[in-house]
């Protein structure tokens, strides 16, 4: 079976983003970028399915400008077989991303699409669920275990109360949580090999979808700063301050 893995280029998770002085957006100039950590977990899961003889082909796909080819090459180095870039310079709403992905799902007919549960820049947590709705597929979101069994996939999900396991008919959508797997590092020979794997570029406009924005970003501001606190010298002092100064314990 084919597995499709949508990946997103985002700010490196170790970098603290700055807001532009004119509050129009965040400033990503000269910022270290990387593959969204949840997408990296998605690629790893797909590659493991291939290594287990369950998946036959792993296709990585990213929607963005030319720079996202860097992350597609990373996915290829991690073991994806081929890559598709849908070229656009716009930053699209999750709904429009899902609509483009839907077209590719129709063309490629994967049995499984594995996405990240959330991009760490927009923190949307939407695309997988939207793609599932548009394709009429079931969804296993926030997955920590994925088991393909015949015509179904069993997905264990991280939910507020603990863990929940669902059985989904294939084809299905899975979105990854942090504990699904620990992604490997790409080896140097695999990075070299990835340069020769196929990467197809297709303009977003060719898909015949109305990509008009559905939301408008009015402004971006820095969060309220917390006032610097104090270092207390003893537990006695801490307890005294919590009781009498902060008044949060009695």
């Amino acid at each position: 079976m084919k597995v499709l893995v949508p990946i997103k280029r985002v700010i490196d998770y170790n970098v603290k983003v700055r807001v532009k002085p004119d509050h129009s957006n965040v400033d990503l100039a000269n910022t270290k970028m990387a593959i969204n950590p949840f997408c990296e977990i998605a690629v790893e899961e797909a590659v493991r399915l291939k290594e287990a003889g369950i998946a036959t082909e792993v296709i990585a796909i990213s929607i963005g400008d030319k720079s996202c080819q860097e992350q597609l090459r990373t996915a290829l180095a991690l073991g994806a077989d081929r890559a598709i870039q849908i070229e656009t310079s716009e930053s699209l709403d999750a709904l429009n991303i899902a609509k483009l992905l839907q077209k590719v799902v129709e063309e490629e007919q994967p049995q499984l699409v594995i996405l990240g549960k959330q991009s760490i820049d927009s923190d949307n947590n939407q695309t997988g669920q939207m793609l599932a709705a548009l394709t009429g597929m079931p969804q296993g979101t926030f997955a920590s275990v994925v088991k393909v069994e015949g015509e179904k996939v069993n997905v264990t999900r991280e939910v507020d109360g603990g863990l929940q396991t669902l059985a989904l008919n294939l084809p299905a959508i899975v979105t990854t949580d942090l504990r699904l797997n620990e992604p490997r590092y790409a080896s140097l020979p695999n990075i070299m090999k990835a340069k020769r794997k196929p990467l197809v570029v297709r303009p977003a406009a060719d898909f015949g979808i109305d990509l008009t924005p559905r939301t408008k970003l009015l402004k971006v501001t820095p969060p309220a700063e917390r006032k610097a606190g104090v270092i207390v010298e003893s537990i006695d002092e801490l307890v005294e301050k919590l009781k009498n100064e902060a008044k949060v314990i009695s």
């Binding site: 983003v17 807001v19 965040v26 709403d93 999750a94 709904l95 959330q118 760490i120 927009s122 923190d123 949307n124 939407q126 695309t127 997988g128 669920q129 939207m130 793609l131 599932a132 709705a133 079931p138 969804q139 979101t141 926030f142 920590s144 069993n154 999900r157 991280e158 939910v159 507020d160 109360g161 603990g162 863990l163 929940q164 396991t165 669902l166 059985a167 942090l178 504990r179 924005p213 559905r214 939301t215 408008k216 970003l217 009015l218 402004k219 971006v220 501001t221 820095p222 917390r226 006032k227 270092i231 207390v232 537990i235 006695d236 801490l238 307890v239 919590l242 902060a246 949060v248 314990i249």
Partner: protein
């Protein structure tokens, strides 16, 4: 305007966070209807009718909604959607699961995790793990929204709404529930607690989390954890606080052996008072702590317990 709020529950009780989502709905302004979709959920309905500011409670009580499968709930909400300009769910794992599905079925964008309402079409939400705050305007006729409860006050519960039983049964028939492994705890929920004490990698193992128990008992606190503590298997996943775990804002948050990575701070930095116990004076957690103590947690915790 009319607003539909989908109730968070486990078939036996209405989750307190729903009261804050209704708080957000009141800030938008309009006639508020609640939807309870579940199975054998009469207790939830009884609680829902008392939520203040609500005129109607729609009830879909059927086995197909027992586990709130996104495929089934989203079809139900979509069928009801034409009567409402705003549809709100709480940004917890259930709402996060079905709501984008509703949005896509309605061909509407979703605004996730709002923390404030500027007007009926403009909302405030954190992005980049809370390191930037975006003001976003929805250009769709309908607004599909998930609400981060730390941004809103809970409404009271002395109301008296009308109950409307729905006959609709929407079963997509493409997914089924296998089982749950839920953590049972006598302690308050992380989302509802006024005091939280969390342990990180510095706790070294699961056994040592017992050091937090006595303090939590004395303070009526919930116990949380960092991702590192969960990944290492010290404690279950539902205890994770952070960008990708639970977002909390209690009156008092005590971080023990947690360094203060941005992803952890994203889940707790709106707490009223933050205390950090860490042996490394350079740990970033001290930059957000109101009270920090540089100490070995294995000395500090027993002493703190004895002095409370």
């Amino acid at each position: 305007m009319s607003i539909l709020v989908i109730v968070e529950h486990d078939n036996s009780s209405l989750k307190a966070e729903t009261l804050k989502t209704v708080g957000a709905a009141q800030k938008i302004g309009g006639d508020i209807t609640l939807l309870v979709a579940g199975f054998n959920c009469q207790n939830v309905v009884d609680a829902a009718v008392k939520v203040n500011g609500v005129s109607k409670v729609l009830v879909a009580d059927n086995a197909v909604y027992e586990h709130q499968l996104a495929e089934n709930v989203s079809l139900l909400v979509t069928e009801l959607a034409s009567d409402y300009e705003h549809i709100l769910a709480t940004a917890l794992t259930t709402g996060k699961n079905f709501m984008p599905r509703v949005a896509a079925l309605l061909d509407v964008a979703q605004i996730s995790d709002i923390i404030d309402v500027e007007s009926s079409d403009t909302f405030v939400r954190p992005i980049y793990a809370g390191n930037a705050i975006a003001t976003v305007q929805s250009l769709d006729d309908k607004k599909i929204i998930t609400v981060r409860t730390t941004g809103f006050d809970a409404v009271a519960t002395d109301g008296n709404a009308e109950v409307v039983t729905l006959a609709t049964v929407t079963d997509a028939g493409i997914s089924s529930h296998v089982n749950d492994e839920f953590t049972v705890s006598e302690r308050p929920d992380l989302g509802a607690a006024t005091v939280i004490i969390s342990g990180g990698r510095g706790m070294q193992n699961g056994e040592n989390f017992k050091l937090l128990d006595g303090i939590a008992d004395k303070l009526g606190a919930a116990i949380g954890a960092s991702r590192a503590a969960v990944d290492a298997g010290f404690v279950p996943n539902d205890m994770q606080v952070g960008q990708t775990g639970k977002i909390v804002a209690p009156d008092l948050y005590i971080a023990v052996g947690i360094s203060g990575a941005i992803q952890h701070l994203a889940g707790m930095k709106d707490s009223k008072v933050i205390v950090a116990i860490n042996k490394d004076p350079e740990a970033p957690i001290f930059q957000v702590a109101d009270y920090g103590i540089v100490a070995d947690l294995f000395d500090a915790l027993p002493e703190l317990e004895s002095k409370l």
